[in-house]
């Protein structure tokens, strides 16, 4: 009897150890899902109220341009303000931010950083998300043009007149010297984004001068009509030179090795944008707070948190449980499911990304691919419709050539699109005498290609291409190795992707088509006719003429078929109904300034 009693005690002990954690959990449930603002930070929201005076002082023209900038303004944006989205609140965005490593405008070059940097560092001029050929003034009082004297007649000088009394997050007032400093630092840091200064710099000199306190002049080596798209990138957003220098920042040739400001800029912002970077915890979150001294009307949210969530499945659960307001990378099935319920808003937009096949054009590496007919045959053999509908679940479109839909010159290439035609493919292979020849298709082992499993895509391509009479050997390769081999021009045929550095056609026609530029060089593609057309287009200020030149260039590129564009993904973002003003932006992903949350 006594024994049994003791055994009970042991049983109770074991049980207790199981129950205690459960109890602990239950006790904590009061603030359960992390949606509620943290108690320790309760003081934050009120600071927003302190904002108004300076905001009201913002020039009226600013108000007008703010509408223009957010007028990207599909129904959602205007609907948001109309339904009276109240000012304030905290918005949590879920995203796989595996790529995020720095928030220094002189160093960052990662996709996930774009919206953060866009919110913290206003550019001189902004590119319209809906119509990429339109620009609106931001820190510059007007968009320079030949007509207003902002661009010289020869197209080589750009003069920006700056807004007066614009405050940096760090407290200083913006002057032309800050712009000069920021451009020089970006250039001399010699990191991934430094090439954005290429149009107005040589290795040792950056051709930018402060004409007076509020006027800055860029001198280009040669006319470049895409220059404003460079200026619109967050990397070129002005920084407070005084604050950066205080933290060890340099704008001299030795910046590459001696600049010490990165640690500070990773955690703080010194731009002029509507939101201030408050903290950045790698693999956890980035926290932004409203800039109360913003030169336009301040942003609508007190706080924006970009939360790292690695997997699509978890992201969906968190959205449904209310732990996040916006899910940026759900897979197509999840988007379709959530759309059905009617509880969420699905925002879509064409990205400027491309998934493509690269075919080596030189005989030593390309083998049979050195023959144009074989490359064309592959272009005719691929089942584009099957890939977009079956593998991308329709979350993609197909551009006619190397310029994505939405950019100048895509429309003009439409007549030259190559559609699936198996008979033609077989015929071309026969003419080339390449039947039965084998081609090696390299792709990222275990990787994805713009949302499609690389293995699945490669298998589909093999099946398609083999119908033409060629043989395809699949070569799954370590992603870092494939990239190195592709870069070294060693791959016969591989699946690769492209995303924009700046939103202009020249970043596509001028890189895929131009001899010696990134993708062209990697497949040894060179066509002097194409070179001439894209060089001419880069300098052509007349929009219609320029578009025509790109159309012609793409006709030739399609005929040569060194690249076969498989698809251009459509971004699908799911937000709670309470979120308004979410508009897809092809470069920034989303402009945080327009975001608001009701209820």
């Amino acid at each position: 009897m006594k024994r049994i009693h003791r055994f009970r005690r042991y049983a109770a002990m074991a049980l207790l150890s199981l129950i205690v954690p459960a109890l602990l959990a239950a006790c904590g449930s009061s603030s359960k899902v992390a949606d509620t603002p943290a108690p320790t930070k309760a003081a934050v929201p009120t600071t927003a109220a302190a904002a108004p005076t300076t905001a009201a002082a913002a020039p009226t023209t600013a108000g007008a341009s703010s509408v223009a900038a957010t007028s990207a303004a599909s129904p959602a944006a205007s609907g948001g303000t109309a339904t009276g989205a109240k000012s304030g609140g905290q918005l949590i965005i879920g995203r796989n931010t595996d790529d995020l490593i720095t928030l220094d405008p002189g160093h960052f070059y990662e996709v996930s950083a774009e919206p953060l940097m866009g919110a913290a560092y206003d550019p001189l001029v902004a590119q319209d998300a809906q119509d990429l050929s339109k620009f609106s003034p931001m820190l510059a009082k007007e968009v320079p043009s030949v007509a207003n004297g902002g661009i010289s007649a020869d197209g080589k000088e750009y003069i920006f007149k700056l807004r007066d009394n614009v405050k940096f997050h760090s407290g200083g007032t913006m002057t032309a010297d800050d712009i000069v400093f920021s451009m020089k630092r970006l250039h001399f840091l010699q990191d991934n984004p430094s090439f954005l200064t290429d149009p107005f710099s040589t290795k040792d000199a950056v051709n930018i001068t402060a004409v007076d306190k509020l006027t800055v002049k860029f001198t280009l080596a040669e006319p470049n009509v895409a220059f404003l798209t460079y200026v619109a990138t967050p990397n070129l957003g002005p920084t407070d030179s005084k604050a950066v220098k205080e933290k060890g920042g340099l704008d001299t040739a030795d910046a590459k090795d001696k600049d010490k400001a990165k640690d500070f800029l990773d955690q703080n912002s010194v731009g002029t944008g509507p939101y201030i970077i408050k903290s950045f915890k790698l693999k956890e979150e980035v926290v932004l707070e409203r800039n109360p001294n913003y030169w336009r009307e301040p942003g609508k949210l007190d706080k924006i948190i970009l939360k790292y969530i690695q997997k699509s499945g978890t992201e969906r659960q968190q959205l449904e449980a209310g732990a996040i307001d916006i899910a940026q990378d759900l897979d197509a099935d999840a988007v379709a499911d959530l759309q059905k319920g009617g509880k969420y808003t699905v925002v879509t937009g064409n990205t400027l990304n491309l998934a493509y096949l690269a075919l080596h054009t030189a005989p030593d590496v390309g083998g049979p691919l050195a023959n144009k007919q074989v490359r064309q045959a592959i272009a005719y053999a691929v089942d584009y419709k099957g890939i977009i509908e079956g593998l991308k679940k329709n979350a993609a479109v197909r551009p006619p050539s190397v310029v994505p839909l939405g950019l100048l010159g895509a429309k003009e290439a439409q007549p030259y699109i190559i559609n699936t035609d198996l008979a033609k493919a077989k015929d071309l292979i026969k003419q080339a005498g390449a039947a039965g020849q084998s081609i090696k298709l390299s792709y990222d082992a275990g990787g994805t290609v713009e949302g499609v499993d690389a293995e699945t895509l490669a298998t589909k391509l093999k099946a398609d291409i083999e119908q033409s009479g060629l043989k395809v050997e699949l070569a799954p390769t370590d992603p870092t190795q494939r990239l190195s081999d592709y870069r070294a021009s060693k791959l016969q045929m591989n699946i690769s992707t492209w995303s924009p550095d700046y939103a202009d056609t020249n970043n596509y026609a001028g890189t895929f088509g131009r001899t010696g530029q990134a993708p062209a060089k990697r497949v040894k593609y060179s066509n002097p006719e194409v070179d001439k057309l894209v060089d001419q287009a880069a300098k052509e200020p007349d929009v219609a003429k320029r578009a025509g030149l790109y159309g012609q260039a793409q006709k030739l590129i399609n005929d040569d078929s060194p690249f076969i564009i498989l698809y251009q993904p459509v971004a699908q973002i799911v937000t709670k109904k309470t979120v308004t003003g979410y508009n897809y932006h092809p470069v920034l992903l989303v402009d945080y300034y327009g975001l608001a949350k009701s209820g």
Binding site: K2, R3, R6, F7, Y10, A11, A14, S17, L18, P21, L24, A25, A26, G28, S29, S31, K32, V33, A34, P37, A38, P39, T40, K41, Q90, I92, D98, I101, Y109, N192, S279, K281, L282, K283, E284, E285, V287, K303, Y308, I309, Q310, K311, G313, T314, Q317, E320, A321, A323, T477, D478, P479, T480, Q481, L483, S484, R487, D501, Q517, A518, K521
Partner: protein, 336 residues
């Protein structure tokens, strides 16, 4: 004892050196090119690539790279991570405390749940309690941690909303002032009770999941060793002396049964760290498990080596503690 510790320390150094050599060799045998971690895929200019290789010391032959690495290591410098582009020392200082906190909680749960469970199973040998306890232990060891993590998240965070999904604190909350990097400890020291509670709540689910494997092993070890010693003469003698069953089991039987368990404990620690990779990525726990996975994918040698070294050091220390514990548990065992 002092001599013993010195010998162990020297042996540990040898082990650490072999660890660096093995990791470095393995890392270089894997096909791939680490430079892509720092260079944008758009860059084609060979000059820029060559410059980056030089900056990160990747332009030299592998043996030279290794010698340089060891030389820097002796000066306490673990090199620069290609993934985060920060000194590895700094990365580890940031990530290790998170893993340490998680592991301490996990070890705690593994012992306080697994131990009693094993005792219960042994004393109710072949009874329903035994089967239940063995079932729980089997579940803990058999179900893969990544699956358990998703399962727990779905049940407790998604459906029941009892526990937060992930992270060390709620979204947007600043960490307590840095002292040890263990949020619960730092919050306690600074008297930030709300943060302490929050950190504890966040640590609960990931540490229980991480504990599952070790818990199962401990329960099974305690059960079988206790069953072994229960039939020994000294247990019968203790009972014959008229000692209470509690004293017999806790002071006489259990103490002897613990020796093999403690040995296993040392070995399970390795499994705990391996499990951390899965647990941390599911629960967005910014520890060295996540860091290891991230740096390994990018073939970031400095990062991978840093993690390997710190795990090796922890492993060696933990097993040293286990060895010292033998002496405490059984005075007949002398460390010499």
């Amino acid at each position: 004892m002092g001599q013993y510790l010195l010998r162990r320390a020297l042996l540990s150094l040898l082990v650490l050196w072999l660890v660096t050599l093995a990791t470095f060799t393995l890392a270089h045998l894997v096909p791939g090119d680490p430079i892509n971690a720092v260079i944008s895929d758009k860059v084609s200019d060979p000059a820029i690539i060559a410059q980056a290789r030089k900056k990160y010391g990747l332009d030299k032959p592998a043996p030279v790279q290794y010698v340089l690495y060891v030389k820097n290591l002796l000066h306490g410098d673990l090199g620069t991570s290609l993934t985060t582009r920060r000194p590895v020392n700094r990365d580890l200082r940031q990530y290790f405390p998170a893993t340490l906190e998680l592991s301490i909680f996990a070890m705690f749960f593994a012992i306080v749940i697994g131990g009693p469970l094993g005792v219960l199973a042994a004393i109710r040998h072949n009874g329903p309690a035994d089967y239940t306890a063995r079932g729980v232990a089997l579940f803990g060891t058999a179900v893969p941690i990544y699956y358990l993590a998703l399962l727990a998240q779905t049940i407790f965070a998604y459906h029941l909303k009892l526990l937060p999904f992930s992270g060390r604190l709620d979204d947007g909350v600043d960490a307590p002032k840095h002292l040890t990097g263990l949020y619960t400890v730092d919050a306690l020291v600074h008297g930030q009770w709300d943060l302490f509670g929050m950190a504890l709540r966040h640590a609960l689910m990931p540490s229980l999941v991480l504990a599952s494997f070790a818990m199962g092993i401990i329960a099974r070890m305690v059960r079988s060793s206790l069953l072994d010693v229960m039939n020994n003469d000294y247990v019968r003698t203790a009972r014959a002396k008229g000692l209470t069953e509690k004293t017999v089991i806790l002071s006489h039987a259990l103490r002897n049964a613990l020796i093999p368990t403690v040995t296993v404990l040392g070995l399970t620690f390795g499994g705990l760290i391996a499990g951390a990779v899965f647990t941390e990525s599911t629960f967005r726990w910014p520890g060295i498990g996540q860091y290891a996975a991230q740096t390994a994918i990018k073939l970031d040698f400095a990062g991978v080596l840093g993690v390997t070294l710190i795990i090796a050091v922890a492993y060696i220390l933990f097993n040293l503690i286990v060895d010292v514990l033998y002496g405490v548990l059984d005075p007949r065992i002398r460390l010499s």
